[in-house]
Amino acid sequence: MTEVIATNQTILVVGGGISGMTAALEAAECGKNVVLVEKNPALGGRVSQLYRYFPKLCHPICGLEINLRRLKQNPRIRVLTMAEVTEITGGEGDYTATVRLAPRFVNENCTACGECGKVVDAEVPDEFNYNLSKVKAAYLPHKMAHPQRYVIDPSIIGTADADKAKAACKYGAIDLDMKEESIQLKAGAVVWATGWKPYDAAKIQPYGYDRFSNVITSVEFERLADIHGPTKGKILRPSDGKEAKNIAFIQCAGSRDENHLRHCSRICCMASLKQTSYVREAYGDEGKSTIYYIDIRAIDRFEDFYQKVQKDKTVTFIKSKVAKAVQDEKTGDVVLHGVNTEGYHRYATPHDLVVLAVGMEPSVKGVNLPAEIVSDSSGFIEADPSNHAFFGAGCASNPLDVNRAVQSATASALRAIQVVNRVARVEGQ
């Protein structure tokens, strides 16, 4: 049974991505006790799946490393992975959360030596690579995973593979009898940092994400560029593994659209501008990026970045919302149809690969939230007094880039600290 010590002076942080980690760290470094709950087997969230950040184009590994170091040396944070909050009852200063813990089948003895992964034959889709590749059914979620501990996929439990893995482990770390548990813990305030998910691109029917292999999403493109991705960092297109040198980026794929997501997702313009630099990095002057856009929203100081990309001769901007995409069966090329609104020119342009800059949908949307939480028409949690001590942070509250998500998380930590301080005064400690 998992023991967690938590009181009404504890802050519960739900979601262990960049926002949740930040909120937990800021609160803990102010002397508060924090329970950090993460659904996946490792912390880091979507940021860990990025190849580079904008605007400085540094690797997210760097920022994660700093945060993980802070986390490891702070005794006030209790991290629960593979854990999901299913219910929250009570009110400000006195919440009770029910947390469901999925079995990892690997205990804390694990040294991440990797012997279990070597002997297991079964493979499962690699969620870290957005299912673009497969991974052994005994796996480390990713290179920088925290906790640095393997996971046994539940699909092999009861098979010979599971027994092989157990036999291969020299440290007695594999426990095939682990069961799902449900625990309850107290909290004075809740920081809800469940982040975002890429909008389901298959719903944008004219772009054929579900029909054409060479139409991919921007998050998948990040994995293609990454050395730990399915193509070992080479930008190859899915249909035939050919080098994709002529790449189209379609902006507002789902965003700013009453039929899909009505909000502007804010990050996609900068993300595509950033991704043109991956094409340049891979192919130099031979690469060709074309950005189809309604208007480029490189907010405030990112305007510099936009101007830099505009100066790149390999990048073309076409002011048009693409009407439809058709993949040529023989060549595998994707032809984009539409009208360039600057001059009203009709085009039908072939590309090796089409990247849909998909919008951000809050993960909280559709989740059965504990209380009546006030959120906006897109499902982002509002900073509303009637939400009491339940605070949205990062992309659960707004479509934000990493920088702004961290600011938002710090703000929510400060709000949560004020609540538990009030509780402490009442309890006289």
Partner: protein, 199 residues
């Protein structure tokens, strides 16, 4: 305050065109133009028409044949990210241009629309024989004979299958209370004219 900046033509469109108040919502993404099956055949795609309205180009918009090319397939409406009822606006603009006498003369869609209306308004029923003959002969007698000859087998087939009565050429069938029907149309026109400032 913002009213001061709205030009006269945009105001006119908002007042006199069906769904005209939506024109200001267009964000010029161009997906309507790209989605239109007849796109390459019009002078101005919808988002260009909307921009021209906002730029006050009254003459150019109303004399254009663009809105008459709309076949009401609704492709643009389902794809418009701002949910503009583009098809309805196109028909509304065409109607305004016709009422003002600015629409292009002899434009086929317009010709058919007015023929259809006159045909229907007379008896309360559409006389399909007279309507199709009217279309055949709209460009003169010789062209009309040519058109009729080309469609001969279709016409005879329809007569055989009792889908077309040749006797309709003489008068044709109609509804019971014709004068009541005409009074209704007259009243409807009065209301419409008052609403759209044609009175």
């Amino acid at each position: 305050m913002s009213e001061n900046y709205r030009n006269n033509f945009l105001k006119e469109v908002e007042e006199r065109v069906e769904e005209g108040h939506w024109v200001k919502m267009c964000m010029q993404c161009g997906v309507c133009a790209g989605s239109c099956p007849l796109g390459p055949h019009w002078a101005h795609p919808p988002q260009e028409i909307f921009m021209m309205i906002r730029a006050g180009k009254r003459e150019e918009v109303l004399t254009s044949d663009s809105m008459w090319m709309c076949t009401s397939c609704y492709n643009c409406v389902v794809r418009c990210p701002r949910k503009l009822p583009i098809t309805h606006i196109m028909h509304g603009l065409a109607n305004l241009a016709y009422r003002l006498g600015l629409s292009p003369k002899n434009q086929t869609t317009q010709k058919f629309a007015s023929m259809f209306w006159n045909n229907l308004a007379q008896t309360g029923r559409v006389n399909e024989l007279k309507l199709s003959l009217g279309m055949y002969f709209k460009d003169g007698f010789a062209q009309g004979i040519k058109n009729a000859m080309a469609m001969q087998s279709v016409g005879l087939g329809m007569v055989k299958a009792k889908r077309l009565n040749p006797m309709e050429l003489f008068g044709g069938h109609g509804i019971k209370d014709k004068s009541g029907f005409h009074a209704m149309l007259k009243k409807a026109r009065e209301i419409e004219d008052r609403r759209k400032n044609f009175a």
